[in-house]
Amino acid sequence: MTEISAADVAVPVVLRVNGNEYRISAEPRRTLADALRDDCGLTGTHLGCEHGVCGACTVLLDGEPVRSCLLFAVQAQSAEIRTVEGLAAADGTLHPLQEAFWRHHGLQCGFCTPGFLMLSAGVLETRPDIGDEELREALSSNLCRCTGYQTIVEAVQSVRDAGEA
């Protein structure tokens, strides 16, 4: 049998996600992404590489875009976490970024979309007047295999220009 280490023994973890509190039991080695998906049932956060490269798992941690595949759930305990499930209003009204991605055809298969939405939300909330070049630089954090990116950039620019984020 494999030796049991402290990292394999589940501990109580409290996560605050989209304003809700989730009391879960997680091994210290459990990533935030796995905890969100498997323990909180928030499967909108996707895993594309688990190496911190593709950004599909991007969520907001105290307003900052982070790779949830590179964080342990226990590290996120004191933070306010936001995921794609929290973007739209409670009555179902889409967030301006969701509307813009829809209008500009900023998604095809939709697998990278939650990561891009959270990345964009984090960027625009902290830098509402971000310039085109810096915005491109920021969006180069994440990978999309379907769109060729242009429509994603246009979608985010349109929200920035309208001052809606």
Binding site: G44, H46, G48, T83, W102, L107, F111, L143, C146
Partner: protein, 784 residues
Amino acid sequence: MSWVGRSIRRVEDPTLLCGAGMFVGDIGGAAAVRFIRSPVASGLIGGVHGPAYTIADLDADGVGNIEAVLHRPDYVRLAQPLLARERVRYVGEPVAVVVGATAAEAEDLAEQVELDIEPLPAAVGLEAALAPDAPLVHPAESESNVMVAGEMATPGLVEALEAAHVIVELEIVSGRQAALPLEARGSHAVTERFGGRTTLHASIQAPHMVRTVICDLLGMPEADLRVVAPDVGGAFGQKLPLAREDAVLVWLSRRLGRAVAWIEDRSENLMASWHSREQRYRLRAGFDVGAHLEALQADVAANVGAWPCYPITWGVEPLMALAELPGPYTPEHYGVRSRGIASHTCPMSPYRGVSRPVITLALERLMDIAAARLGVDPVEIRRRNLQSDFPHISPTGLRHDEGTYREAMELAVSHVDLGAFRARQSAARAAGGPQPGIGICTFSERTGYGTPAFAARAMGVTPGFENVEMSMDPSGYVTLRIGASPHGQGLETALSQIVADELGTDPSRVRVVASDTDRTPYGWGSFASRAMVLAGGATHLAAQKLAAQLGSLAAEVLEAAADDIVLADGRATVAGTSVGVDIAELARIAHHHTQRLPAGAVPGLSANAGYDPGGTFSNACHVAEVEVDPDTGGVSMRRFVVVEDAGRLINPMIADGQIRGGVAQGIANALLEEVVYDEDGNILTTSLMDYLPPTVAEIPDIEIMHLETLSDATVTGAKGLGEGGTIGAPAAVLNAVNDALAHLGVELNEMPATPERVRAAVRAAAGGNSAGETNRSTQEAPVQ
């Protein structure tokens, strides 16, 4: 007003935008499966020790082997086990499988499994696999690594080459690439405790085909297996063939009586999913004094990996090259030998464009090199050689329907203002430093082909047709069930536009059901730029039938002639009058007041249709503008223009999305992406830090213009376009890189044109040393 032709927003999007999509990894509630994979490229299996299932367990249950067959005398037939039996043939080949309560536990279990494998010499690259003393990948079945070898020549080829004014020879090499869907593969299988029916959810492109082959392998009736492709996070061909893993999942779930899930990780995906494109083309082309391509001879070798893919086989890349190499040009004489060469590497599947990105790279480099040799402008040489009489029958018998090869090119080059570019380029050459270059690519994209085209390949399984089932419910809403299996393309939206036009309803009243073998008619799925033509054509035909039913019912209700009924804006009206009835009211009558139906009419409103066309050709011209730094070898994209003719556009926004995404992949294929093995067959690119898909920083905005030549070969007038972006972009980019460095005498005919290769080409042109390895064009290019 017509819905077809309008860029309406996609019905697919709200769910995906809210993170409410259902991908395989989101299903949950299953034990985790992990495959133990070969760490060596070639070897004999001495034993598998630990808590794992192996091929012995599958054999004991009578599970069969995969047989991907082409009925050709030159094709080597193999029986492929679902897990390696006796021998491993590539790094990453599945040898054993473990099941754990969680993914972490399955990984822990996998670490306890020991593989006892005696390594053998491996044949990795094309040259190694073709060497006279090459280690054989399938020594029991074949005395060489040549697994398929197609050959043809038109009479008079040799004489035509001898008579040519100028002979141009060149060698084109494409590195090995991966389709790299952002969601890796995965599957989830659950078997009902009572009744024993199994449901497989899998990230795939062709659920009906997968149901058939898994049931054949496991010896079970198809009625007992439901296959569902839920939301699929990109595929691009990699999810078209049967995954051995998916078949093992069904077996495990039935054997264990529990739900099991396999979620491929990114390293597995890069190592052991499917690769493509590792090809070498040697061309010998004869031009007359007027720069017309008179004769074309080619020797094509494709490294097809260790096993064929089902059902497409490993003939797909070499035989597509054989059949389609003349491309948009019109050589009277054509000869080709095209071989698929097995090696101890990951098997190949079709990837967006299949062979055509390399075919097009070969032809378009040929045109630019010939233009320089003959002292003709690159635009002018294409002008003289592109197809312009239609239908055009190629030397291999392919019928090209009407296209706009020349017109697309003229529009593209006038849009970019070539004169102004050349002035900028002259200034940059005088100044030194980074150099601008421009590259043109014209190409045809064979799309929307049905059974006849696949039958010509003599496949063991012949794909082709698409069927749809359409019904209108009592509320007047339409349900359309399709055999195609869209996964992000927007097909549901586009089909709803076709239905809306035929039935005079609104697209929001159409629901498309797809990708579930329990709920859809048998079909072949989404691949080969076919779904819009095939499923769209079948939808068009079914909608016409349903419209006729509505028309005759309306005629009865309105006491008018059926021919006078017009369906529009949700109403059936008598032409030229305001007399009419709501279509929703007709739907009620058809179900709830069937006593009012015309005599002999069947209650309800439903229609089925199938469609199986011979195929059509889209065409496009791409123009790429790059900047190349001769000192670093770095290439940056400055501009990219596409003029596309895909026939009738159903939803231009969706069409543009396909083009942009395809071009982005093509640019990355041209400059960045390469799967690299060392000479022992160890794969060196198993993360996204080593295999480099592009970010937004590498992809420019794509300027798109459309021509719309309605196809006479399809019922909607539409042609497919899903692959074109990826087909044309590599050649446009490579031509641009060569143009940027032409004044230095550089010739670079290998993709991806990485900084190392660009630098090597610059050094070679400067008369330096050590560049011969990568600058293939400096070598002689004999054609046997």
